[in-house]
């Protein structure tokens, strides 16, 4: 394996996923293997190549600014694991 480039704890933090120790060690192995393979791309000189983020020429799509009478608040809120008085409920943010 090439020199380790990633800090699994930091990546877990960025991804907002709690990982157990066994998950971390398994992921470290797989990630190391995948990144070693991805090194293949460094063989290609891309200094004059423009990046493609999207294959179609995307344009901004605007619709007419019309008020629609639809209010689905109740239906959407129904899906929430926890709600209270017409709002989403989450654990304490500032302790």
């Amino acid at each position: 394996m090439t020199e380790k480039k990633f800090d699994i704890d930091n990546l877990a933090k960025l991804a907002r996923i709690n990982l157990s120790d066994s998950e971390k060690s398994k992921l470290e192995g797989h990630l190391g293997q995948i990144l070693e393979y991805v090194e293949l791309l460094s063989q290609i000189d891309t200094s004059d190549v423009k990046p493609t983020s999207h294959v179609l020429p995307l344009r901004n799509v605007c619709r007419e600014d019309k008020v629609t009478p639809k209010d689905d608040t109740v239906n959407y809120l129904e899906l929430a694991p926890q709600k209270d008085k017409g709002h989403y409920e989450v654990p304490q943010i500032i302790s």
């Binding site: 791309l41 990046p51 294959v55 179609l56 899906l79 929430a80 304490q92």
Partner: protein, 483 residues
């Protein structure tokens, strides 16, 4: 009755050979008899389907001629359906019932289709075996010890096992075509932007595309005619007119040129797959199609490029699953951040976590240019390869997958090996092109082999035309597994 294609069933319903309710009953009976072995579905919507079938019968009796009136169709379980679950094969969406229909579902319903259930898939469409489903793996109807491929493995297995008349899948790196090839059915990934993604749960937004999984190319053309088209609800859907795919099926193919990429006929391909594909190229030649050798020199970089870009997009897309607005929330208490991180730990499976983490890495400070931007630049080169190839040919043909269906559990602990098996399909998503897998033979172990046809952007018509002419000369698509 369950063996019928869309076009056959449509004729039979019109001619009153059987009713939509009888056809639905035949399909559910078939599901009852084989589902224990195959497990194509995550859930069925019997009551809703029966209502739809009854309505279809009433409409048929009144002389209504809607294009899918009474036809039982299955949907991959990441296409939102109002009033029934959409799980994405994930624990995190186990109880999710979408408040709206995806645009494709709206179109299917308007066309009179009967939605029978939602098919199994790799969790969030991440995988090539349907084994990463949080529910259970699906088996390949041709050999129950093998995978049906993935991620639309449930849709392909359901079509192959005649548990539906046709199905929809989605394809981000080969997820319609690879399972179609493993299960011996037809699977089309239309050009990026051809089909609305509104109501398709996003994996990698610049790659994802919905498409048909069917028993014949003619059915794929028929279904495409219904689901394709611009949609104001999807800003990436292309404003390009949709041709009459059915009329295009019978065009004369004589004189067309098929590009054979030398990189796709290399030593890495299983010899039996190669042999079947080469025989089908000969069959194309008999139709008057001229083979030309082409080069797609950046093929070897496609897997690395795809996994960087698709995982980066996935890590952003899947940030919405946080236990607040819908889906699963972890019971373990704590502050907001703990709720997020525990919900995602408990709600996502291994493959999804792996791809989110890989994506987070490619987008993280210090690595963004070296990985994410580098990937986007190589994507440009891969697309250019195809642009140049299409100067010499009208469409491209080659093996869909380098190997036939894998054994269950074979690739579970070797993600890189699984990723590498998608080499021929994911280049097509990187370039946004239409691609289709059609049955083109069997190995000595009686496993189906798929031929991939790749078209120019927005030229599904040519590959459907070629595929249909091929199926007129061959009978691989008429074979069914013994279950």
């Amino acid at each position: 009755m369950h063996r019928k294609t869309i076009l056959q069933a449509r004729d039979d319903l019109k001619n009153k050979k059987y009713s939509a309710c009888e056809l639905l009953e035949a399909i559910y009976n078939r599901i009852d008899s084989v589902e224990e072995k195959v497990r194509s579905y995550i859930h069925l919507s019997k009551e809703l389907a029966l209502e739809q079938a009854k309505e279809a019968d009433a409409r048929l009796a009144s002389g209504d001629d809607a294009p899918l009136l009474g036809i039982p169709i299955a949907l991959k379980d990441l296409i939102c359906t109002k009033g029934s679950r959409t799980t994405c094969g994930s624990k995190i969406l186990d109880n999710f019932v979408s408040p709206y229909d995806a645009t494709v579902v709206k179109k299917l319903k308007e066309a009179g289709a009967v939605i029978i259930g939602k098919t199994n898939m790799d969790e969030f469409a991440m995988g090539s075996t349907t084994e990463s489903s949080a529910y259970y793996p699906t088996a390949n109807p041709w050999d129950l010890s093998r995978t049906p491929g993935g991620s639309s493995g449930g849709s392909a297995a359901a079509v192959a096992a005649n548990e539906c008349i046709a199905a929809l899948g989605s394809d981000t790196g080969g997820s319609i075509r690879q399972p179609a090839s493993f299960c011996g059915v037809t699977g089309l990934k239309p050009t990026y932007g051809r089909v609305s993604r509104f109501g398709l749960v996003a994996f990698a937004s610049s790659f994802d595309q919905i498409g048909p999984v069917t028993k014949t190319v003619a059915d794929a053309a028929y279904l495409s005619g219904i689901i394709c088209g611009n949609d104001p609800m999807d800003s990436t859907s292309a404003n390009v007119s949709v041709p009459d795919f059915m009329a295009g099926l019978e065009k004369n193919v004589k004189g067309l040129k098929v590009g054979l990429p030398k990189e796709y006929f290399s030593s890495g391909v299983d010899p039996e797959v190669l042999e079947n594909v080469q025989n089908s190229i000969k069959a194309l030649e008999k139709l008057g199609i001229e083979p030309v050798e082409i080069e797609l020199p950046h093929t070897q970089y496609a897997v690395a490029t795809y996994y960087i870009l698709a995982c980066a997009e996935a890590s952003a897309n899947l940030s919405r699953f946080d236990g607040v607005k819908y889906g699963f929330r972890s019971e373990s208490s704590g502050d907001l951040n703990k709720m997020y991180t525990n919900t995602r730990q408990e709600g996502f499976g291994d493959e999804v976590k792996r791809r989110i983490i890989l994506g987070a890495f490619a987008l993280s400070s210090g690595y963004y240019d070296a990985y994410y931007i580098k990937g986007q630049k190589v994507r440009t080169l891969i697309k250019k390869d195809f642009d140049q190839a299409f100067e010499k040919c009208d469409f491209i043909a080659g093996p869909n997958s380098p190997v036939p269906a894998f054994k269950l559990n074979e690739k579970l602990n070797d993600p890189l090996q699984m990723y590498l098996s998608d080499i021929f399909t994911l280049s097509v998503n990187l370039a946004g092109l239409p691609g289709m897998s059609i049955p083109c033979g069997f190995t000595s172990q009686n496993l189906p082999v798929g031929l991939q046809l790749i078209g120019r952007p927005f030229d599904e018509e040519t590959i459907l035309n070629i595929g249909n002419q091929f199926q007129k000369e061959t009978d691989f698509h008429k074979k069914f597994p013994n279950l």
